[in-house]
């Protein structure tokens, strides 16, 4: 399979986006030249994947597809969020460009709330699902890639059922890896494989039961098979270590240390607390009245928040962290 990266521009802002800050860099890629090069180099019958960013944002996409078809591509796979296909005319324009076109559509949730949280884009779920339906109506084969995160792993079977209902031609689950935005947000995004695993197995069994071709990949490598339906993730911001969770934790810890959260190694005798008073003296009787006025003087009990605030040492009071931006990848 030949992968052609078009622009990195995208109209979603996914929490698991592997491209992360690459997208903020100035886009100097010459998409037209890249397609021309692929068209002249390709072996007849080869699959070509067009990846982004979001390829449908490029007005020339139907022309690119047409050119690759004319050059003899066996299959042209467009990796997309599918939102633009919510416009039926656009779906038709793509279909008319080539009957060897296939779509690899990214879906991250079985509900609007779940998917839109992942894309950072309200309304994206409705458009993506409508896009899948329009592709179906136009006869363009569309498969779905689903990045598995801490927030959706419990719902993979529901995603299977949604895909079956559309229906789509195939479904692939990919565990989120700490690349790009998902690296920055690893603690929030990357699930523990042991916890996600059983749900993944259930989803694959569900897919088999309802006759949907589904698979799970440890990594989002470009994948040629199932008619070259899946495009992979395209350019990623950085290479990941082999164990996503370990790498993610290490990155998180480094970031936390930079922010000033430090764990001191103190494996010897424990230090006393700030307000610890160790002695053999015992205070009772009248001395209790002084600290328990609620019992002796009818004073109102204190509220927890006030106690915590009052107890805090000045040195440990940290400025409030800047609010995190959602899905800026």
């Amino acid at each position: 399979m030949r992968v052609v990266a078009l622009s990195l521009a995208c109209n979603n802002a996914c929490v698991f986006c592997a491209q992360g800050k690459l997208r903020a860099a100035e886009d100097t890629a010459d998409a037209e030249a890249a397609v021309r090069r692929a068209a002249s180099d390709l072996v007849k019958g080869e699959t070509v994947a067009l990846v982004g960013g979001e390829p449908t944002l490029d007005e020339r996409l139907p022309d690119f597809v047409r050119a690759l078809d004319a050059a003899g591509a066996g299959r042209v796979v467009v990796q997309t969020n599918g939102r633009r296909l919510a416009y039926r005319a656009y779906a038709r324009a793509l279909r008319e460009a080539s009957d060897r076109l296939a779509l690899d559509v990214s879906l991250a949730g079985s509900t609007e709330a779940m998917h839109d949280y992942h894309t950072g884009t309200p309304g994206s779920f409705k458009q993506t699902v409508l896009g899948l339906r329009n592709a179906r109506a136009e006869g363009v084969p569309a498969s779905v890639s689903c990045v598995v995160t801490r927030s959706n792993f419990r719902h993979l079977s529901e995603i299977v059922r949604l895909c079956r209902a559309v229906p789509v031609s195939g479904l692939r689950f990919v565990l989120a890896r700490p690349l790009g935005t998902a690296r920055e947000l690893a603690a929030r995004v990357v699930p523990a494989p042991e916890l996600a695993g059983p749900y993944l197995a259930m989803a694959l069994a569900e897919a088999q039961k309802c006759g949907l071709a589904a698979r799970a990949d440890a990594a989002a490598e470009p994948y040629e098979g199932a008619e070259g339906a899946f495009a992979g993730l395209g350019p990623a911001e950085a290479e990941a270590a082999t164990d996503a969770r370990v790498a993610g934790a290490a990155a998180e810890k480094a970031a936390a240390d930079e922010r000033g959260r430090r764990s001191l190694a103190m494996f010897g005798r424990p230090a006393p607390a700030r307000r610890e008073e160790r002695s053999h003296a015992r205070k009772t009787g009248d001395e209790l009245r002084a600290i328990l006025p609620a019992l002796f003087e009818g004073a109102a009990p204190r509220e927890v928040a006030d106690v915590v605030a009052a107890d805090k040492p000045v040195s440990s009071r940290q400025p409030a962290a800047a609010p995190r931006q959602e899905g800026t990848g």
Partner: protein, 339 residues
């Protein structure tokens, strides 16, 4: 509503836990003050009291306080490290006074870890002996067959989740349930980083993800065996499948409160709000309304670890309100026939 009041009997202790949230002060509760506390809880309609500390079994007043609370209609339990009831005579004296519910604090089934955490060599062995004694007294009471003794002795395990046990919470429950089959209920308290000794011993610090898998395994093990458990200060995205077992969530759903009489200058503290800080991402979460969030913003735990989940909230709320897992009686909603 099953509100429970906390009575600190003493604040000294024969252990020196490196994460102790109520470290030593010179104050000790006397009988008159204890009675006032009990009268006050009773007047507030509380369900029961928990004797705590410091190590409450170091107070000579345990039997008298227990008897007085029972007279006033309160359920009595004690949180203890077990060192004193490792002595059978003491254990029997407490049980005969009516103290029939114990939360024994044990943080690791590995002796070297337990002794390290408590700062006292041999504390693991003493805790084991305490459990044996309580198990024997439980069996004796049940064998007696009288109505008064029918419920035997209830023994729970309390564990503070910290950096040194975060990876083997499941090993703990497997060990304890195999060796002491009479244990029916486990309580995990995620480390309270806001005050106490944990603040100065930051080697006890962990990340939430450090315990996520082992806590999940432990909860699954107990659920499979039909045992119950509660988890405090753990956000629901780290215990989603068992959200009904979150102490904060249960209190939010049932509208419960709790009150503590501290033996330090905090004095009497009443807690009616169980919501802690949340992350920006939490606003997407389907459990936002019933989640306690993350204890102590920024100082220790990291809000960046919170992730929204999208599971339905109603089954969790219903499970808590219907009290489906045999905890203390909760509010029971009217059935359609009662409306």
């Amino acid at each position: 509503m099953a509100n429970i009041g906390y009575m600190q009997l003493v604040r000294h202790c024969n252990q020196y836990c490196r994460f102790c949230s109520n470290p030593e002060t010179p104050y000790v509760l006397d009988l008159e003050t204890a009675r006032r506390e009990i009268d006050d809880f009773s007047a507030r309609g509380y369900f029961g009291v928990i004797l705590t500390g410091g190590e409450p079994s170091l107070s000579p007043l345990v039997p008298e306080i227990t008897r007085y609370a029972i007279e006033r209609g309160l359920h009595v339990r004690m949180i203890t490290n077990g060192s004193k009831i490792a002595d059978m005579e003491t254990a029997r004296r407490f049980v005969e006074a009516g103290l029939r519910h114990y939360h024994v604090s044990i943080h690791s089934c590995r002796p070297e870890v337990e002794d390290f955490l408590t700062g006292v060599k041999g504390s693991h062995a003493l805790a084991m002996r305490a459990l044996e004694n309580l198990g024997q007294l439980d069996a004796e009471l049940r064998a007696a067959g009288t109505a008064e003794a029918a419920d035997g002795v209830t023994v729970n395990i309390n564990t503070v989740i910290n950096a040194f046990n975060a990876d083997h919470l499941d090993e703990n429950v497997r060990f304890f349930t195999a060796r002491f089959p009479f244990l029916r209920h486990f309580v995990w308290n995620n480390l309270d980083p806001s005050m106490g000794r944990a603040e100065t011993n930051r080697d006890t610090a962990h990340r939430l993800r450090d315990f996520e898998v082992s806590l999940n395994r432990a909860m699954r093990h107990l659920a499979r065996e039909g045992r119950t458990f509660r988890v405090e200060r753990v956000p629901l995205c780290f215990m989603t499948e068992f959200a009904w077992a979150s102490t904060e969530t249960r209190k939010i759903v049932k509208g419960e409160e709790r009150m503590v009489h501290f033996l330090d200058d905090k004095g009497t503290v009443r807690q009616t709000d169980f919501r802690h800080p949340k992350a920006e991402a939490c606003k997407h979460c389907s459990l936002h309304d019933i989640c306690g969030g993350l204890f102590e913003l920024g100082d220790w735990y990291d809000l960046a670890e919170l992730s929204p989940v999208f599971v339905p909230k109603e089954p969790i709320v219903n499970r808590i309100l219907l009290d489906l897992d045999g905890g203390p009686a909760g509010l029971r909603p009217l059935s359609p026939g009662d409306a």
